[in-house]
Structure formats: structure tokens, C-alpha cells
Amino acid sequence: MTVVGERPNPVGFGRMLRKEDVRFVRGKGQYVDDIQLPGMLHGAILRSPHAHARLVSVDTSAAEAHPGVRAVITGKTLEGLKLAWMPSLSHDVVAVLATDKVRFQGQEVAFVVADDHYTARDALELIQVEYEPLPPVIDARRALDPGAPVIRDDIAGKQDNHIFDWEAGDRARTDAVFAGAEVVVSQEMLYPRVHPAPMETCGAVAHLDKVSGKLTIWSTTQAPHAHRTLYALVAGLPEHKIRVVSPDIGGGFGNKVGIYPGYVLAIVGSIVTGRPVKWVEDRSENLMSTSFARDYHMRGEIAATREGKILALRVDVLADHGAFNNTAQPSKFPAGFFHIFTGSYDLQAAHCQVRGVYTNKAPGGVAYACSFRVTEAVYLIERMVDCLAAELHIDPAELRLRNLLRPEQFPYTCATGWEYDSGDYPRALRLAMEIAGYAELRREQAERRQRGELMGIGVSFFTETVGAGPKKHMDILGLGMADGCELRVHPTGKAVVRLSVQTQGQGHETTFAQIISEVTGIPPEDVEVVHGDTDNTPFGLGTYGSRSTPVSGAAAAVAAQRVRDKARIITSAMLECAPEDLEWEKGRWFVRGDPTRGKTIQEAAFAAHGSLELPEGVEGHLDASCVYDPPNLTYPFGAYICVVDVDRGTGKVTVRRFIAVDDCGPRINPMIVEGQVHGGLADGVGMALMEAMAFDEDGNHLGSSFMDYLLPTSMECPSWETGETVTPSPHHPLGCKGVGESATVGSPPAVVNAVLDAIGVRHADMPLTPAQVWRAMNGRPYRTDLAIP
């Protein structure tokens, strides 16, 4: 309850309503599709109906003659501009518009620019394309078969569909541990191709101002600065003449990290017509052509003693990257952070090998709140631990407790080289078990089994790896991952903070104000957060991989500390004492031993802009900036427990309870953290039970609308039960670790483990739809990446 006169908001960390929601709940958000410019034209993309076909001819004459059509752009047009292909973020190229072949269903073939959206769509139907269909490569496990059709014949000398082989860990040592192990359990599993499916699809408005020569691009981007530099590098435009604006974004989840052909086409459309061009894709275009996530075919092996001490892990992965290797991830490793697959356990040795292949599917790979493949890694280890528990007849929670890293082992360097910063894992798991009433649940389960009812309890423990990242491990096309931040305190003590990261719903306008507030004592409502406009914010690589708080949050904290330090000097000048004699309490410097003598930060701000005589070498005003280069990643973690009921007759799963204990260090705004966790848990239920993009043998996308690609609704979600432990990160100025993706990473294995626990089956692949559960109960689960046979 709010008492009249009491501050509604905390100064610094604490629960407060989100500042940005005032405009969202009033329908006043400004999304890309809300942008209207004088003379703006509308673009639409013609897409390939085939998964693999040679492009024989594209006849655009009828479309060009259609009233209201201003331009029709094809691969040929782009070839003339040297823009038919663009570099991917993974050392490959991506077709902007097809020139030689189409390589997945939904690939971009032509672009129409017209007076309105309806005309543009109508004109698409007038374009005559002649295709010569080719056999497609759909099953990733057959991609390297001898004689498999070669998808990437655009690459000189390419004879197969192989992209990369990569390994991490110590193979010899791992093999040696396995050779001597008492128990070895192995399991094949697929993390299916899923889609982030943000509420807002992707789109852009491009406007090349012919007079100033300045190109402005409003687009759905999680990384405006990275996009600007890439446009400069790719299109050869001078970088100062490019401004990228990311207005309100309706969800990203990694889907909006990369540059899509549609953005480039909007730019080309504007160059060709001399007018602003808007392009916004529809839902099917989003699902069929933009970055998918996962698609990892994994084989795990776990070695242990009979008492349940886990010794080593070995993993072999086949990674389906689609038609172009365009995973939008910043690590120097082709499998992202997958080699964190040792999870939360103390292992003697580990080894993984990953092989990437091309298939006739859309490119992508790491989108969807995955922390660059930590999702796949956590799923693998958490399923393997459950397989081991089943093999050894040890309770899965107990088996985890026996193997979790102990608090005194931190900082801990895992078998594949990652340095975990801090944690108390057993405490988190015990707390989750306590909230769940774990022992009581197991008793209930046994009773229900007696009555023939299927109830399951699933446990997962995850360690996240976020805050990309240290330069030694990361860059995007040579760009490092340090984030800038600029903080300016106005004379009256209000402030503006400028960030390089870009909110897509995470609540940056609130949490970053709270970070500044925590350090300076300026109330959060007095701090304006500016982001998403490259002309008005410092450089940085954007928001994904849960990096905003660990990296930009640190930058903001350091900038705020610098402001606070400067306020100290100013206060000392005001009070005519030495800075060292001043002590800080939130919002105010005062004379040590005489708390009545002091100045608030607001008073200091005014003085900093006033006639006060400042000490030698101290400039006026009260502002600071910081470029924060993270010394290490941060490692949030959590313990999740899921309780399900399964209908034996139909295979239908009901998630009855879900307990999530998260540790992300200190919580800046606990309400926002819980919201992030709730969303991620819903994601997890979705992936575990219903989401997957399968393809039939011709390469038809079988999940190209929300009737076919199912997202969970509130009806499938229980009332989430959340808990927390707090283990600060030792190297973040505020100890914060980031939490955006924790629940998406950690929850799918808990749900899957629960379902498999209920039906007493070792493994079946997600999504565990009623049909798959029933088939699994009958010993015949099917492959979920292909059409159901």
C-alpha cells in the first residue's frame, strides 16, 4: 500500500513500476510500423516457394506496369550495385536477393516498392519467376551423405554441405576417464529448431536525404550501433552519414540482432526512388525467413562412479545452420558458448565436437534467448544427469546435490576453460526443493502411481554465461564488445543517461535510471534514459545474450561513480574542506563527524554549473562517461523444479507447478527480474511442449503461421513460484549478473525431465506434444525435425 506523502519509488534498487509502461499502456508506443514520413513508399518481398531451385528467370515487366508501383528490384539489380550478397556475422555470405539459386523456402527473390502496402502486395503476384526445382537437403543427418545435393555452389570449389568442425576440451583426457569409468550412459537428443517469434515482426523505414546525403534507418534492431558500422562496411557509405534509430521494439529475443535482406532492400528502395521506404514483414515471413534458434542434434555421454559421482562428459553435435552460416553471435567459436556444457558440476574432464552443416532451411541459429548456445548446453547436461539418475536409481535432485560445484570452489575454471565467477549452487537447489516441498511431492507421486496416475517431477540446474564479452573471446567482425555510457547531470540535479544498449521490453528505461540512482542518489524518476539512436548515444554492441546489465549496467555504474566522485570535489569546494573529509550517504556528501554540514548531489550539480570557484584542474559541470570492457563474463544460475500431470489415455501434459529459484546477483528491480523470469519460463514450457519448426521432405516449412507454430498461452502456464538467492559477481561494480535469458535457458530441461519422469521413459525429443508423449509411452517417439510420419 502506498501511504500518501511516502515516496512511491525507491532511490536506487527496489521494486518500482516501469517508467516506459506509461506510454505502452496508453497505446503511445512508437514502433517501426508507426513511423509515417511525408512521401513514404511501401515495400514487399517476393519469396521463394521452393526450398532449393535454380532461378531461371525473373520477369518483372507486368509488376512494373502495375499502377502505383515505383520500383521492382531483383537480384540482378543488386548485382549491379554489388549488393546481391552481404557478409554474414559468421564468416559466410548471405543472399540479399537470390541471383543464382533459391536455397530455402521463403528466401527473398524480388522487392516491390509501391505507393501503398496493398499495391506492393498485389504487384508481387504479377512477377513471373521461372524456377528449376532441385532436390533439397532437409534432414541434417543426411547433409553430408555422398551425393547429397550441394547447396552452396556459389562458394568456389564447394563440393559438400560441410561448414565447420570445431572441438573444445581435452579429448585424450576425457577418453581416459571414460575408459576407466564404472558407469557410462549415452543418449541422442535433438534440440529442435525453434523461433523467437517476437510479437512485433521485423521491419525498417529507410530514408536517404538527397540534400544532406544522410541515410536514416529506423529498424527493429537490438544492436543499432553494430548495424550502423555494418552498413558502412557493406554498402561503403560513410559512417557519419548513417543514423540508425531503433524505436520501441516489440520483443527481440535474438531475432533482431542481425541485418535482414528486408532492411537492405528498404535502403536500396530509398536510394532508387529518392523517397522514404517502409518494409515490414508479416508473421509468416518472420517465422519462415528470419533467425531461428537451436537445431542441434546432440549425442551425449556421461561417465560416473556407481555412487553417482559424475566424472566426465563427451558430446558430439551436428548443427543445422540452414542455407547460409549466419549465426548472429559475437564469440570467436563457431558453436558460441556451447562448450559451457559441463554445466554446474565438478567434472574431471570434458570434450565436445561440433560439426556445422548447410541445409535448405532459413539461416540463423542462435536467436531466442539462448546466450549463444548455453541453452543447448544446459539442456544436454541436464538431460544427461537425469539419464544417469535413472540408470543409477538415484533421485535426480540428490544426484545433482552430490555433484554441484561447492561455494568454496569459486572462482572455478571448468574443464573447457570457462572461469565461473561466483555461486552457491547447493543453497539454490535446496531452496527450490524447500519451496516445492520436494519430499512430499515424491510421496504424492508414489501414491498416484499406485492408482495408475502419471505425475512427474523434473529438476534442472543451470549456469548461465552472459555479459559478452571480454575481447579475448569475442568480437563482431572485428568490433570489440565494450559498451559506452554518458551521464550528464543538469544544473537542477536531474540527469540524462545515454546508453548503447537497446531495450526490447526488458525495462531499460527503468533499471538504468535505478542504477544511476543507486550510485548517485538522484531519484530514478529524475533520470532520463536515452537509447536506440546512434546519433545520440555512445557506441556499443547492443542488447542480446543478457549483456545489458553486466556490460552497459557496469558502464552506467562506473559513469555514476565518476559523477559522484566529482560531486565530492565540488562539495568540498562549496564547504571549503578537503574532499577526503567528506563522507557519502545516498544522495549527499557531508563532513565526516558533522552530518549537518553537507550538500546534496542536486546542490552540487547547481554549483558545478554556477560561479563557484573550482579547484585547479577541475572542469565545471557534472557529467561523466565510461567505456566498460568486461574483464570476464558473469555466471547467473538457478534451480528449477517442474511438476506435471500426464493423461495416460491421451498423452496430454499439464504443467501443475513450476518453482524457479534464480540467482542473478543483486536485483536492481525485483519486479522486472520476476517478469523476465516469468517470460522465460513460458518460453520453456513452449519449447518443451509445443514449439518446433519441422520441414517435410520437399522442404516445406511446417510451422509458418501461429496456427502451426504454437506459442504457449497463459492457459498452459501455472502460477509461477519464484525464489532467489543473491551471490554478487566479484567483478561487476554492482555485483549484478544479468537475468534476461536465465529462465529460457534453464526451464526446458525441467519440463522435459518432469514429463519423462511421469511416463517412465529415458528420453523423447521436444516438443512433447500429446502425440509425442503417447508415442514415447509406447516406445516409439518420432523425430520432431521432420514431418510426422
Binding site: S284, G649, M707, L710, A771, W774, I788
Partner: protein, 291 residues
């Protein structure tokens, strides 16, 4: 945003006006009721009618009433209205069972009974429910009014007895004594179309099934109808063995096809499972034992 191809738009003021518009615009015209099936197809450009005849003004076709020993549903009755109807629930609780799992509240607020039947999607729930209830469809055209048994209404997927210049105006469900009914559906997620669904109506005379209707959705049953299972149960006591036998026959004669909702064997299994469940609940309701 998906956008349909260009089309003309006419708003009908009455049934005769709608029929006149249909006659004038010919087979290129389509009536639009709730639009929840037609508009998505138009946005996908799978349907490109030259003219839409809006019948949402025909409020006279929106009713649920008991008349002449029948439950009569006007074609423009919305799903939500049927769901809320105590009258319908009293005579045919399977309608409420079905409506509760058709689509979502947004679709149910606009989608109509008539649109559901005329869409004739093989997974349409009300088609199976009406098949079980042995309903009659009332069709109006230039030539007058005719009544078609539901078993003759559906000619195949997306094909009905309604000619391009006709309207479905009403659905009639004969009210007979000793009735109990239930609808069972399994979906992958709330709001999804059925993987399989079964509606059952039994009419008991003492301990004997005097008549029974079993309707199946989404599993390739001709006319949404499990004729063999019905025949096996008619005249028998609805005990566990008889219901199991009927369920097995329904499963055996269903013709499901594999899709991303499930493989054939699972769908066939579901037909049996759900037929058993629906029959048991229908019998319990007929005996006044369950809501």
C-alpha cells in the same frame, strides 16, 4: 501485415436482400459472417472472392430457441452465445463442452454457427457435435427453403450442400427424451484445432440405448460420423463392454491422416479413447449423474 486482394463489399439488410445480392454477383461472391475462417484465407490469398456480402446485419438469424420439439439455432448465432446458453446446455450439454474448446474468446465472440458449418473444415468441432445430435440444416435460396439432414450436409472437405446462391439460415436439433451428451477433444494447446475430437449423444430408454449419435472431427470420418460404432451400440445396454466395442469400431473406421498434430496410429488411438470417454459421460448425464 497480410493484406487480401481487392474485393467489392456489400452489406445485406435481410435474407431476401442477401439472396438477391448472391444471385447478382454470382459464384465470385462469398458471404462473410464472423469472418474468422474466410478473412484469414483471404489474407493468405487462398480465397480471392470478387465480392463479400456481409450478413452481420441479419440479426434476425441470431437466436437460440426451443420450438416444435427442436432446439433451433440461427445461423448468425455466435459461438459465445451458444456457449452461454442455458437452454442449449439443458438439452445438449455437448454443445457447451464443444464451445468451451473451440478457438479462443476472441474468435468465439465473432465466429458463427453458420460459418462453422459452411466452412466445412474437416476439424470443425460443431460439425462433429451436430452430427452426433443428428441435426438438420435449413437452407434458403431463390427457390425457397429446404431442410437437409446433417449427414447429407457435408459433401467433403470445404464442400457443403449450400449452393453458391443459397444461405444456411438455421440448424435444428431434435429434442428427444432420455438424452445425454458430451464432447471430448484433445488439442496441442488451448485454441488449437483438434488432433481428434468426439461428440456423443445417447438417448436411453430404461437401460437400453434407444438411439445414439457419434460425431468425429479431424479424423477423416465421412460426414463427421461414426456410423459403425453407433450401430453397434444401438439397442444395447451401455455397459463398459458395449462402450469399449463401440469405441474400438469408431477407431477402426476412422481415416485420420498424419500431420504435425500427430501420426495416424495416435489419432486412431485417440478416436477410441475419446469415444469411450464421451459415451461414458453422455450416459452418465442421461442418467442424471453428471452435469
Amino acid at each position: 501485415m497480410r493484406v487480401p486482394a481487392a474485393f467489392e463489399y456489400e452489406r445485406a439488410e435481410s435474407v431476401p436482400h442477401a439472396l438477391a445480392l448472391l444471385a447478382r454477383h454470382g459464384s465470385e461472391a462469398r458471404v462473410v459472417a464472423g469472418g474468422h475462417s474466410l478473412l484469414p484465407m483471404m489474407k493468405l490469398r487462398l480465397a480471392q472472392p470478387a465480392c463479400l456480402i456481409d450478413i452481420n446485419g441479419l440479426t434476425g438469424l441470431s437466436y437460440i430457441r426451443e420450438e416444435a420439439g427442436q432446439l433451433r439455432l440461427g445461423a448468425m448465432t455466435r459461438h459465445a452465445e451458444l456457449l452461454a446458453s442455458a437452454l442449449a446446455a439443458r438439452h445438449f450439454p455437448l454443445l457447451g463442452d464443444a464451445e468451451r474448446v473451440i478457438a479462443d474468446p476472441i474468435v468465439r465472440n465473432r465466429g458463427t454457427i453458420g460459418g462453422s458449418l459452411c466452412q466445412a473444415d474437416p476439424a470443425e468441432d460443431l460439425s462433429a457435435a451436430f452430427a452426433a445430435a443428428k441435426a438438420l440444416a435449413v437452407i434458403e435460396g431463390g427457390g425457397g427453403i429446404r431442410t437437409v439432414p446433417i449427414a447429407e450436409f457435408h459433401r467433403g472437405p470445404y464442400e457443403t450442400a449450400v449452393a453458391p446462391d443459397e444461405l444456411l439460415t438455421e440448424v435444428r436439433l431434435p429434442i428427444r427424451p432420455g438424452a445425454g451428451s458430451a464432447y471430448e477433444k484433445v488439442e496441442r494447446r488451448v485454441g488449437d484445432w483438434a488432433i481428434a475430437a468426439v461428440g456423443a449423444v445417447v438417448w436411453l430408454e430404461g437401460d437400453v440405448v434407444q438411439d445414439v449419435g457419434i460425431g468425429l472431427a479431424a479424423v477423416g470420418a465421412p460426414h463427421f460420423h461414426a456410423a459403425e460404432a453407433e450401430a453397434a451400440l444401438r439397442g444395447r445396454a451401455p455397459d463398459a463392454a458395449a462402450i469399449a466395442a463401440a469405441a474400438a469400431l469408431a477407431a477402426e473406421h476412422a481415416r485420420p491422416t498424419a500431420d504435425q498434430r500427430g501420426p495416424v496410429d495416435y489419432k486412431r488411438h485417440l478416436v477410441g479413447e475419446l469415444t469411450g470417454r464421451a459415451l461414458r459421460r453422455a450416459v452418465a448425464r442421461a442418467r442424471g449423474r453428471e452435469g
